[in-house]
Symmetry: C2
Subunit: 207 residues, 2 copies
Amino acid sequence: MNAMAKGSFRDQVLRVREDAIVTAVNRLLAEKGFEQMTVDEVAADVGIAKASLYKHFASKEALAAAAMVRVLERTLEVIGQLAARREVAPFERLREVTRWALRVQLSGQMPILPAQNSSLRAELMAHRTYLDLLVTCSDRLGEWIIQAQADGQIDRSLPPELVLYTLFARACDPVPGVMKSSGRHGDEQIVEWVLATCFSGLGTRPS
Amino acid sequence: MNAMAKGSFRDQVLRVREDAIVTAVNRLLAEKGFEQMTVDEVAADVGIAKASLYKHFASKEALAAAAMVRVLERTLEVIGQLAARREVAPFERLREVTRWALRVQLSGQMPILPAQNSSLRAELMAHRTYLDLLVTCSDRLGEWIIQAQADGQIDRSLPPELVLYTLFARACDPVPGVMKSSGRHGDEQIVEWVLATCFSGLGTRPS
DNA sequence: GTCTATAGCCAGATAGAC
DNA sequence: GTCTATCTGGCTATAGAC
């Protein structure tokens, strides 16, 4: 939480440690969600005492918020990279972002969407950095959605917000995980199938 | 749990009470999920003491299992009614089942899909009635899926199990609830939009 | 800043009177 | 079967020594 300066050696050690904490939290959030994750597990995973965790982060909610912030930062990086590729149409950019999210999900590193009633929800809604990143992320994706609708590549009768929520939801969908747990299919194959159901739907095109 | 006989008056009273319990559990499962639901809430909602609940159901997991069983029974009823309408194609039947599930979800009565790691999961996997209903339900939907693929109405490149999981997942998707919470759209409109994203996808058909 | 030990709380489950 | 009162265990968070 502190130690933003990267000058001294001690501070760098601190940053590395906090990064390890956030990584552990991120993995546990992906595995079991906020309520089911215990601070003891996080401490054990990082290899330090629970009390030490609380020297870095004020609460369990703060731990989760840090992980959510990092996910959003990475998402914005991916969005930025795609935005630089001017030859890629908005519709394809949305597909690429979703593809990236599905891969992260299948690798067990996508934190579960905070439930509508979670105690986490309130804290996140008061977390400036998180909210700012979320809004930025939504805005950039929202632009692409509207452009894709103008291009005739996304159904114009769908409200852009519905499309946005649908993409967010697909990033946390249980379906890829269930398919993976059968052990019969590779990650890339699952990603392509889920992408197909998301963008093309279950039905075939009428000829 | 007991009192299957409907003979005596006392037993009927018991059945009505247990039905009220299951209804409350069902609502709370839909609202907050298994882990977030507390037995105290259930008792308060029914209007009896917590200890009395445990005279009817052995554990919190047993409460949830009863609710899940009832949902599956109702699902099978819907499936049975659709099966009787021979003029409706399998693809349309799948859409109708999904439409029904989305309506139940929006009315706040669809229990949340049990998470892969939940303590509930283990108990359900040992619950004969639940498993039997789940398998029956999956088999009947699976038949329709395969027929719809043979009819060329569902993408043949998708594994039937993926289609099945996708339909189950859509019944518990957070998207309809989030759309409803904005208060700007009616339930039926939301149902149609979500059905469209599910069966036709986000993209428009190439002409 | 790290640890051990523990406070404080809450939720699932039970005891025992009626 | 229903109640009140209580037990038990697990979890967040903190005290205090080093």
